[in-house]
Symmetry: C2
Amino acid sequence: MNILFLHAHYEKKSFNSALKDLAVEHFESKGHTVKVKDLYEMNFNPVPARSDFKTQVNTEYFSYLKEQMHAFLNDSFSDEIKAEMDDVLWADMLVFNFPLWWSTTPAILKGWLDKVLAIGFSYHPRDKHYETGILKGKKAFCCVTCGGSEEAYSKSGEHGDILDILHHLNHGTLNYCGISVYPPFLSWRAHLMPPEVLEKYLADYKIYLENLDKTEFLY
Amino acid sequence: MNILFLHAHYEKKSFNSALKDLAVEHFESKGHTVKVKDLYEMNFNPVPARSDFKTQVNTEYFSYLKEQMHAFLNDSFSDEIKAEMDDVLWADMLVFNFPLWWSTTPAILKGWLDKVLAIGFSYHPRDKHYETGILKGKKAFCCVTCGGSEEAYSKSGEHGDILDILHHLNHGTLNYCGISVYPPFLSWRAHLMPPEVLEKYLADYKIYLENLDKTEFLY
C-alpha cells in the first residue's frame, strides 16, 4: 500500500512528530511504501493565489473555484500544486498528523486542503461527492494531539465531543471527496504529561495501527 | 462602538466583499468607527514562525504555545502580531467575513486566529476561558458565504447543521476567548445565483444588521 503523510508540526523533537515517526516506522516495517510531506519543512504556502495556475480563465475577477476547475480541465495547475495532487493520486491511504489548533488543523494544513483537494480533482458539488466522491477507494485517518483533556472533549465536556468537532474534517472534507475515514487517533495534553504517559500514548498508537485494517470506518 | 472586520476574500468585486462593504457602510452610518483588515491585501502570513517573536524562550525546541506565552509576558510579539492584537483590544465588536471553505475559514483567516488569539493575550487554558475568557465584554459575529445549499447544511442535510459545523469557531474559538457571539449571517450558493437573489441576500443582511443589538447571543 502507498501511504502519504501530511505532517503539520514544525518541531522535529515534538511528541506530535514522534507519533508521525512511529507510524512511518510501523507502516514501513509492514512492507508499505511511505511518503512524508512535512508541510513546514516544505515551506508550503497555504494562501491561494493566481500563481497556483499556469493559465487564467478570468484575469479581471479572481474566483479560486473557477480557476481550479479551469486548471483541472486544462491540466494547468502550478507545478507545486500538481506535485501534491500526484502524491494524493499515488496514495492508497492518507495520514493527517497535526496538533489541534482552535478545534481544527493549523493554517498550513488547512491551506493544503484548500489548494490541493480542488474541485474537479477530488470532488464535484453536482454529482461527485460523498458516496460518489472522486477519491473513492482511498482511506485516511487523522492523528491529532489535543492540548485539552479527554474529559473537556467529551460529550458533556466544555468543548463538546471531539468526534463532533472533527466532523467538519473527517466527514465534510475527507469523506466529501469519497475517502473512507477511520476514527482518529487522539492524545491529550501531551505537552503537560510526564514521559510515562507519553510512552503509554505511543504504545496505544502502536496498537491502533496494528488493528487499523480490522477497524470500522467512521465515514 | 469600535468595530473590527477580519475580511478573507481576495476579490473586491465578489459577493462576499459586497457583504463586507454593506456592513461597513451600515455601521459607519450609525456612527460607529470601523476598521477593516483585508487579510489578502495585507499579505497576512498565516504560518507560525520564530519571527513572530522578538525574543525566544527556547531556541533549541520550538513550541509556538510556549513562545506565545513568553512573548505575552515580555511584550515581545513581532510588530505585525502586536498590531493585530492592538486592533483586537481596540474593538468592541469583531466581524469575521469569509467564504466557507471545507466547513471552516480559509487558511489565511485560520492563521490569523492561530497567531493573534494567543495564549495569555486572549485566553488561558487553566482559568481564563469561556466565562472567564480574557476578551470578555467583546462581541462578534461571522458573515459566511456558503457554496452549498441551505438544505445541504440543515440538520437532515448531507453536510449537517451549519451551526454545528461552525460550532468549533463560534464556541471553541471566539467564545473560548470570552467573546459573546451572535448567530452568523449566512448566504447560500451565491456564485450560482441570479442578481435578484443576491439583492435579496443583501436586503436580508441589512435587516440582520439593523436587528443585531436586539439579537440574542448564540454563545
